[in-house]
C-alpha cells in the first residue's frame, strides 16, 4: 500500500516538525509561529518564553537597539527613542547614522567594522538630538547571529551626567588649588562669621589651622581704630558695598602687627540667598614699612637739600657784603691816593679791585644758580622764545657789533616755562657762543624743532669747540676748561642751564669737536594750548 506508506511518512514528517517547533518554543528559539489557516498564513507571537527579556529591554534606563549589518535599526527600546526624541515606531526601520552627530559617523563605521571583526567593541561618540544638539554616549556593540540573520545589538549609555560629575570634580579641584596657591589670604565665612574655607596664606597669616573657627577670633582686625568684625563686613557687603582695599591691622599673639588691605564680597547662592562672604586679606606689612622708610628718607633728603640751599644762599649772600666793601675801598684808595702810590701801586690796587669784582660775579652767579632751582614752578608760565632771544641779543648788542657777529634765529616756539628761565638759558648759551669764538667772526644759529611732547632747541656756533672728553664735565658747577686770563667766567653758566632744564624734567647736551664749533641742544615743554 504505497499510498498508505506515503501518508504515514508524511504524518511522521509533520510530527517531527511539530516536535521541533515545540522544542524551539520551549527553548525560546522561536518568537512567533506562522500557522496556515483558512485566512492564509497567520503569525502568532509567542509571548511566554521571552516576556521577561523583553520587559527588561523595554524598561531599562539605557538605550538599546538592534541593527542589521548595514546599520538599519531593527529594534529600539523606548529609552533610545526618548534619547533621540523620535517615536520608537519611527526609529525602527531607520538608519542608525541618522541619529549620530556628523563628526561621529566615521567613528561609528569603525566601531561596526570592529564589532564585525571581533564580535564585540565599544567607544564614545555623540548622538545628534534636536534640543541639546548632541549627547555624549558610550556605545557597546555586540555581533549577534539571530536565526539566519547576522545583526548587531548596541547598548547606548548616556554620558552627560558622568561628564558633568567629572567637570564638577575638576572644578572643585581647581578651586581648591587656586585657593591654596593664592598669594593673598582668602577666607570664606558663613553668615554667622564661621570660617568655611581658607587659603594656605590665610592659614599662615593666622598661624594656625582655622577651619570652623570664628573669623573675629582668628583675625582680630582693627581699621581706623575700630574693630572690623565679621558682622560688620557681612553687613557692609550685604548692603551692596563691597570692601575694596580697606587698610587695617591685626595684632598677633606674639606681639607682631600685620598691616593688611581688606577686601570682601558677598557670596550669594542661586536663588539669591546669602551664603556668607569672601574676605581677602593682603599683607602689606613689608610694603608699608618700605613705603614709610622711603617717605622718611625723602623727607630727610628734602630737608637736607633745603638746608644745603639755605646754606649756599646765606653763604653767597653774606660773603657779598664784605666783598663789596673790599672792592669799593680798594677803589677808594686808588681814587684818593692813586697819585701817591705811583704806577706800580696803582696796578696792584687794580688787581685787588679786579679780584674782588670777579669774586662778586662768582657769588652773583652762584646765587642765580641756587635761585634757578628755587623759582616758583606751580604758576603756569609761558614764554615766547622768539621774544626772549630778541631781548637777550639786545643785551649783547655791544659785543656783537664789536665782534661783527652774524646771528640767525629760526622761528622758535612758545614754551611752557618761566620767561626768566628761558632768558637765563639763552643768555648763557649765546654769551658762551660769543665768548668762545675762534679766529673767525662769530656765527651763531639758533633753532628749534618739535619732538615727542617736547621741543628741541639749539644754539650753534663756529667757535673753538669742546673736545668730547670734556662735554659732560662742562655742565658741572665751577667747571672751567680755560685759564682765567684767556676767557673770563665763573664756570656756573652751564650748570645754571642744566639746573633750569632739569626743573622741567628736560635735558641739555652738546655736540662738538675741538676747533669745529659747538652745538648746544636742550629740550623744553611747549606751552599748553
Amino acid at each position: 500500500m504505497p499510498d498508505e506508506d506515503l501518508t504515514i511518512r508524511e504524518l511522521h514528517e509533520r510530527l517531527r516538525e511539530a516536535e521541533e517547533t515545540i522544542r524551539a518554543i520551549h527553548l525560546g528559539e522561536a518568537d512567533a509561529v506562522v500557522v496556515e489557516g483558512s485566512r492564509g498564513p497567520q503569525v502568532y507571537t509567542l509571548q511566554g518564553a521571552d516576556h521577561m527579556y523583553r520587559a527588561l529591554l523595554e524598561n531599562m534606563r539605557e538605550g538599546t537597539v538592534s541593527l542589521d549589518t548595514e546599520g538599519l535599526i531593527l529594534y529600539t527600546n523606548p529609552m533610545f527613542a526618548a534619547m533621540v526624541e523620535v517615536p520608537a515606531s519611527e526609529v525602527t526601520g531607520s538608519d542608525f547614522q541618522k541619529y549620530l552627530a556628523p563628526a561621529s559617523v566615521s567613528s561609528f563605521a569603525a566601531l561596526m567594522e570592529a564589532a564585525a571583526a571581533r564580535g564585540h567593541t565599544s567607544g564614545e561618540l555623540n548622538l545628534r538630538v534636536p534640543q541639546e544638539g548632541r549627547i555624549p554616549v558610550r556605545l557597546s556593540l555586540t555581533q549577534v547571529d539571530c536565526a539566519e540573520m547576522r545583526c548587531v545589538s548596541v547598548l547606548v549609555s548616556d554620558l552627560r551626567e558622568q561628564i558633568r560629575n567629572e567637570a564638577i570634580l575638576r572644578e572643585e579641584q581647581l578651586s581648591r588649588l587656586i585657593l591654596n596657591q593664592a598669594g593673598e589670604a582668602v577666607v570664606v565665612i558663613d553668615p554667622e562669621g564661621t570660617i568655611l574655607r581658607r587659603s594656605e596664606s590665610a592659614r599662615m597669616l593666622a598661624g594656625a589651622s582655622v577651619m570652623l573657627d570664628h573669623f573675629d577670633r582668628v583675625f582680630p582686625l582693627i581699621a581706623s581704630g575700630i574693630s572690623l568684625t565679621a558682622r560688620e563686613i557681612l553687613l557692609r557687603t550685604r548692603n551692596g558695598k563691597p570692601l575694596r582695599g580697606l587698610e587695617a591691622h591685626m595684632a598677633h599673639p606674639d606681639g607682631r602687627v600685620s598691616a593688611l588691605l581688606v577686601s570682601a564680597s558677598p557670596l550669594w547662592s542661586n536663588p539669591r540667598e546669602l551664603l556668607g562672604c569672601v574676605i581677602t586679606l593682603t599683607d602689606i606689612t613689608e610694603l608699608k614699612r618700605a613705603r614709610d622708610e622711603l617717605m622718611r628718607q625723602s623727607q630727610e633728603l628734602a630737608q637736607s637739600n633745603n638746608d644745603l640751599r639755605q646754606f649756599a644762599y646765606s653763604a653767597s649772600h653774606d660773603l657779598r657784603e664784605p666783598l663789596r666793601q673790599l672792592a669799593v675801598f680798594s677803589e677808594l684808595i686808588q681814587k684818593r691816593f692813586g697819585s701817591a702810590l705811583g704806577p706800580d701801586g696803582g696796578e696792584l690796587i687794580q688787581h685787588a679791585v679786579d679780584g674782588a669784582h670777579r669774586l662778586e660775579k662768582l657769588l652773583q652767579d652762584l646765587l642765580a644758580y641756587i635761585q634757578a632751582a628755587d623759582a616758583p614752578q606751580e604758576v603756569p608760565a609761558t614764554a615766547d622764545a622768539n621774544e626772549v632771544v630778541r631781548k637777550v641779543l639786545a643785551t649783547f648788542h655791544v659785543e656783537t657789533s664789536r665782534m661783527g657777529a652774524r646771528i640767525e634765529s629760526g622761528p622758535l616756539p612758545v614754551l611752557g616755562v618761566h620767561e626768566v628761565h628761558l632768558v637765563q638759558l639763552f643768555q648763557n648759551l649765546i654769551g658762551n657762543a660769543l665768548k668762545y669764538h675762534g679766529e673767525n667772526e662769530p656765527e651763531i644759529r639758533i633753532g628749534a624743532e618739535p619732538g615727542q611732547g617736547l621741543w628741541k632747541l639749539w644754539v650753534e656756533d663756529n667757535g673753538i669747540g669742546i673736545s668730547p672728553d670734556y662735554q659732560k664735565q662742562i655742565f658741572g658747577l665751577f667747571q672751567r676748561l680755560h685759564g682765567g686770563n684767556k676767557y673770563s667766567g665763573s664756570g656756573i653758566g652751564l650748570a645754571i642751564c642744566q639746573k633750569i632744564v632739569q626743573r622741567y624734567g628736560c635735558k641739555i647736551w652738546v655736540e662738538s669737536q675741538a676747533g669745529l664749533g659747538s652745538k648746544f641742544f636742550f629740550t623744553l615743554p611747549g606751552a599748553e594750548t
Binding site: 657784603e321 663789596r324 675801598f329 669784582h357
Partner: protein, 156 residues
C-alpha cells in the same frame, strides 16, 4: 660851593662802620655839609628819634639789616612820629631783591639804594641825598610843607 647858613641834619641808621665811612665819603664828594647822626642799631635809632621830636632831621638813611630792630621797623617808627613822619627816608641795603624793595616802599621809603660794589655807584648816593634834600633852607622848608601835606593825605 655855596653853603646855606645851617648844615643839613641827617640820621644814618647803619651798623657797618665801613658803610658809614662810605656814606660820609659820598656826601663829602657831593660837597654837602652835613651834620650826621649815626645810630648803630634799632634802639639807638629810637633814642635819636625820640630826642629829635623838637628838631627832626632833614633826611634819614636807614639800612635794612641792622641789629635789635629791622630797618623796616625804624622806618615805621619814623612814619608814626608826629614830628618826623614827613622826612624823606632812603632805605639802603645790600639786598637787591624785589621783595625787600616792595617792603621798603610799602613802609614809606622814598628811595631804595642798593649798596653797589663799585665806588662810582656808591658815590651817587650823595646826588640822591642832594636831590631829596636841597641845601637852600628856603627850599628845604618848602619841601617839608609838601612832604607834610603828602603825609597827611596818606594818613587820611
Amino acid at each position: 660851593m655855596e653853603h646855606g647858613s645851617k648844615a643839613l641834619t641827617l640820621l644814618l641808621v647803619e651798623d657797618s662802620a665801613a658803610d658809614v665811612y662810605l656814606v660820609r665819603e659820598a656826601l663829602r664828594w657831593e660837597g654837602l655839609v652835613v651834620e650826621l647822626q649815626v645810630a648803630e642799631d634799632g634802639e639807638a635809632a629810637t633814642q635819636i628819634l625820640d630826642r629829635a621830636e623838637s628838631e627832626p632831621p632833614d633826611l634819614a638813611l636807614v639800612d635794612l639789616n641792622i641789629p635789635r630792630k629791622t630797618g623796616i621797623e625804624v622806618l615805621e617808627q619814623i612814619r608814626r612820629s608826629p614830628r618826623c613822619k614827613a622826612i624823606p627816608v632812603i632805605v639802603i641795603s645790600s639786598s637787591d631783591s624785589a621783595a625787600d624793595r616792595q617792603r621798603a616802599f610799602a613802609a614809606g621809603a622814598v628811595e631804595y639804594f642798593h649798596k653797589p660794589s663799585t665806588l662810582d655807584e656808591f658815590l651817587s648816593l650823595g646826588r640822591l641825598v642832594r636831590a631829596l634834600c636841597p641845601e637852600d633852607p628856603r627850599e628845604r622848608s618848602q619841601q617839608r610843607v609838601t612832604q607834610q601835606s603828602r603825609g597827611s593825605d596818606d594818613n587820611g
